[in-house]
Amino acid sequence: MILLVAVIFSIAIALIRGGSFNNLGQVKFRYGWLAILAFALQAVIIWAPLESGNGLTHPRTLLLLGSYGILVAVVLLNRKLAGIIIIGLGLLLNLTVMVANDGFMPVDSSVLRTAGLEELALSDETGSRLTSTKDILLPREQTNLWVLSDIFVIPANWPLSTIFSIGDVFLAIGVFVFLQRYLSKSPAMQNSEQTSPVDPDFEE
């Protein structure tokens, strides 16, 4: 949900800066329905509880990783849009650490406690899934590519307490860049100010 907050925050900042949703209507965003499909697929996978990660070859793990494949395709199809490459980098960082740890995002129990979210773990055992998330409980010393896992914490006594990864930070920056670029002045207004050619990212 912290990423949803990042989207709402980015929209609010763009509107405060004088942006308009009408400008967004002129952007050529290709195959966006595939991203919605991937999100829906993940929602089914995430809300169906599992006792453990079950390894990379488990059908549910393969479906989760497959949904990331769909997202990579959406990023590649829209790579010329501002911020999308940054989003793609965040996606790849999250995907890399998940593949390196049996298909789910590892998190250490001490990090979970700091955020006050320990009740999400189905059990205290290593590899236990966290309810309604993509995470599994894994000690730091057993985590491959630990630095890419969910290591950043917003503590329990702060608003929006959560845990997130460096990949999530890239995603938040990417969506911020995208929305500042395409909610801001329309290409016609920019052209009248700069007398530059029409932006290829926008429909004429």
Binding site: L3, L4, A38, I87, L120, D150, I154, F164, D168, L171
Partner: protein, 35 residues
């Protein structure tokens, strides 16, 4: 005008789905999808 409205909704939903599905933060408050 109607087409523009649907295009805006489509882009906002697509972008939000892309970012939330790509992410992996633990949900806050013990609820949510982890996106």
């Amino acid at each position: 005008m109607k087409k523009t409205y649907y295009t805006i909704v489509y882009i906002v939903l697509s972008l939000t789905a892309l970012v939330m599905a790509s992410g992996a933060p633990v949900a806050f408050g013990g609820s949510g999808t982890g996106g």
